[in-house]
């Protein structure tokens, strides 16, 4: 009691900003934040979910890579990686990344945060439905991760869960309770994504502000719209497939199983003659659109960001709208290209091959637009612009192997090799993640009321780009050398197979080292977020630091005051004068703003 306090003031008053107080304030606020129906809080919730998932998924992939390059390496506190554990890592890595990162973050996360503001509206169409989607997604993540901790561990069949491997616990460890949890998680996730997409589609359809016509919608909105329609179509079919697989597992039906199946010495008999091919059809009917769900919002954002920093209109704007829709549309009818060597009728293979190669045309049109927009514009190479350009580069590199894999005769050689792994990691995983980084750096002033550090951002960009290429380009070569996916070891029984597999080991070690580098390259990003957190908030006058033209940058677009006048859109996005010095935001009745005057 030696602290001198003036009488009349209670003790502790002297330290109002002590950590205890902040924690208390958070504890009081948390329930209101968690159970909020505010789309911004829901958007942040989705981002938190995908941040957890991306950290977890990356660590899993790191363990996989370490094991593949150095099979005798022991995971600290765990010991050597067993083959079934390796496959469980593969499954969970794929599931976490595809569902909880690449579907959640661009679509539900940034969609909720930015979409209403870009539409000039203050709320989503169905806030409570939206919140329900968030809770279900969180629940799905918890159930999925729980699969690690049940007897038998996580499922080992990959994220595609082909039966009969996925239809009975006899087929291997992890196919019992672990697989049930996986199915439950994905079923919940499918429902959650459908709810979230219904909300988003209705918002885009109904809540656009005055003047925001079909052709004035930013390409990001088109990306979200197309991805949301695809979600509704694809996830419903996935839900049906999961229901049927559940019946096969627990109710003695045989939709995906032959009349007789001998697994681990046990003869399983069913009425009827199902076929695993049916699952493949249903799964890939979902699985292929899923890829576009992950990438379309990023494509839209790239168009807008490149136009913004090049001070140009998006080249061929109407065509970009058309290609976004066309890519989505074609995405529905190409699923068979995952099944060229899976027992598909060879004539069907030809049909699916043609529809798949057709996607190259709208995708190439998008690349031309990006190239034409930047051409000769001397863009400001800020961090978001760099990430957008990185997106373009990775999209080209990953995309060019798409038409190769779409040719059934070449897919026959390349199917399920690391060539495919390289293809989809470049075009979907890396390009998708670059889209997410681009979004974070670009919208940071709106989301955090702070800009992120440019030097750290540039360091982050260059190291990540280098790491991405160094990790995934060599995979093309191990794939061309016929290295299959899902092999937990490349050294093994002597013979020509072992010789062939071992020939890729030096490259494997390089890939693993690059993967570690790629993960370390993310440290500047987290450091950047941390530093921004401690920095004082922006001056409100700086609300539009990139001199952007779309509606989310209008004054207070993300935090509208109830008494504000309703938003009105006067023109399409990205209107700049030829000199690039003046621009006309969508919300301004006045024609031009001078960037220097701002």
């Amino acid at each position: 009691m030696s602290i001198p306090t003036t009488p009349g003031t209670p003790p502790n008053q002297g330290a109002p900003s002590s950590r205890g107080f902040i924690a208390l304030r958070w504890a009081r606020r948390a329930p209101r934040a968690i159970f909020s129906t505010d789309h911004r809080i829901i958007g942040f919730g989705y981002l938190v979910i995908s941040l957890i998932a991306v950290i977890l998924g990356s660590l899993l992939s790191l363990v996989m890579r370490m094991h593949l390059a150095w099979p005798s390496w022991q995971l600290p506190l765990h010991g050597p990686i067993l083959p079934e554990e390796y496959l469980a890592l593969v499954t969970m890595h794929g599931t976490l990344m595809l569902f909880f990162v690449l579907t959640v973050a661009p679509q539900s996360g940034f969609g909720n945060l930015i979409l209403p503001a870009q539409l000039g509206t203050r709320h989503m169409a169905f806030p409570r439905l939206n919140a329900l989607g968030l809770y279900l997604t969180a629940l799905a993540l918890i159930i999925l991760v729980a699969a690690f901790f049940v007897p038998g561990g996580a499922p080992i069949g990959g994220w595609t869960a082909y039966p009969p491997l996925s239809s009975t616990p006899l087929a291997g460890p992890g196919e019992g309770l672990g697989m049930d949890l996986w199915l439950a998680s994905i079923a919940l996730f499918a429902v959650a994504t459908t709810l979230s997409s219904i909300n988003m589609l209705t918002t885009i359809t109904k809540l656009r502000c005055e003047g925001l016509t079909w052709e004035r919608l930013p390409l990001t909105v088109w990306g979200w719209f197309t991805a949301a329609i695809l979600s509704i179509i694809a996830f419903s079919v996935l839900l049906a497939a999961i229901l049927l697989l559940f019946c096969d597992r627990h109710l003695h039906s045989g939709f995906f199983l032959p009349a007789q199946d001998l697994i681990s010495g046990v003869l399983l008999q069913h009425r009827g003659d199902g076929s695993p091919l049916l699952w493949l059809h249903l799964f890939w009917f979902f699985g292929h659109p899923e890829v576009y769900i992950a990438i379309l919002p990023g494509m839209g954002l790239t168009s807008m960001v490149i136009a913004n920093f090049s001070r140009r209109r998006v080249f061929a704007y109407r065509l970009m709208i058309a290609t976004t829709l066309l890519i989505g549309f074609l995405g529905i009818i190409v699923w068979g290209h995952h099944m060229f060597v899976a027992g598909l009728n060879p004539f069907a293979g030809t049909a699916f091959s043609i529809s798949t190669i057709a996607i190259a045309i709208p995708a190439a049109a998008k690349v031309f637009s990006w190239l034409a927009t930047t051409w000769g514009s001397r863009p400001r190479l800020t961090t978001p612009m760099l990430f957008a350009l990185g997106f373009v580069s990775l999209f080209i590199t990953g995309g060019l192997t798409g038409p190769i894999l779409a040719q059934p005769i070449l897919d026959e050689y390349l199917h399920n090799t690391f060539f495919v792994v390289a293809h989809f990691h470049l075009i979907m995983a890396m390009a998708g993640v670059f889209g997410l980084f681009c979004a974070t750096y670009y919208w940071a002033p709106l989301l955090f009321h702070r800009t992120l550090s440019e030097p750290l951002g540039k360091l982050h960009f260059w190291t990540t780009l280098l790491g991405a290429y160094s990790t995934f380009l060599p995979m093309h070569f191990t794939g061309l050398a016929a290295e299959p996916r899902h092999y937990s070891q490349l050294t093994g029984i002597a013979g020509p197979s072992a010789t062939l597999l071992q020939s890729t080991l030096p490259l494997q070690r390089h890939i693993t080292a690059s993967a570690i580098f790629l993960l370390c390259a993310q440290l500047p990003f987290f450091l950047n977020l941390l530093l921004a957190w401690r920095r004082p908030a922006n001056d409100p006058a700086d609300a539009n630091p990139w001199h952007a033209t779309t509606m989310e940058w209008a004054p207070n677009a993300l935090n509208p005051h109830p008494n504000d006048e309703p938003s009105i859109v006067y023109r399409g996005p990205s209107h700049y004068t030829d000199s690039g010095k003046e621009f006309s935001p969508q919300w301004s009745p006045v024609n031009t703003f001078n960037t220097e005057a701002e």
Binding site: L201, I204, T205, K206, R208, T213, W214, F225, I229, L230, I232, I233, A234, V237, L277, H281, F285, L325, G328, F329, I332, I333, G336, N345, A348
Partner: protein, 51 residues
């Protein structure tokens, strides 16, 4: 003699997928694809129609 193995495949081809099953798969593929495509177009037209 081992050069001539006979027509083992003739017997075998009857074991392969019968045309009715092939047709069923074909119809199912077309049904799924066209339902998905119709819904996609309907959704887009709905957006177009609203203002």
């Amino acid at each position: 003699m081992t050069i001539l193995q006979g027509c083992a495949q003739c017997l075998d081809s009857t074991r392969a997928t019968p045309p009715t099953v092939q047709a069923a798969y074909r119809h199912a593929i077309i049904l799924l694809a066209s339902a998905g495509a119709t819904l996609f177009i309907a959704g887009t037209l709905l957006l177009r129609r609203q203002r």
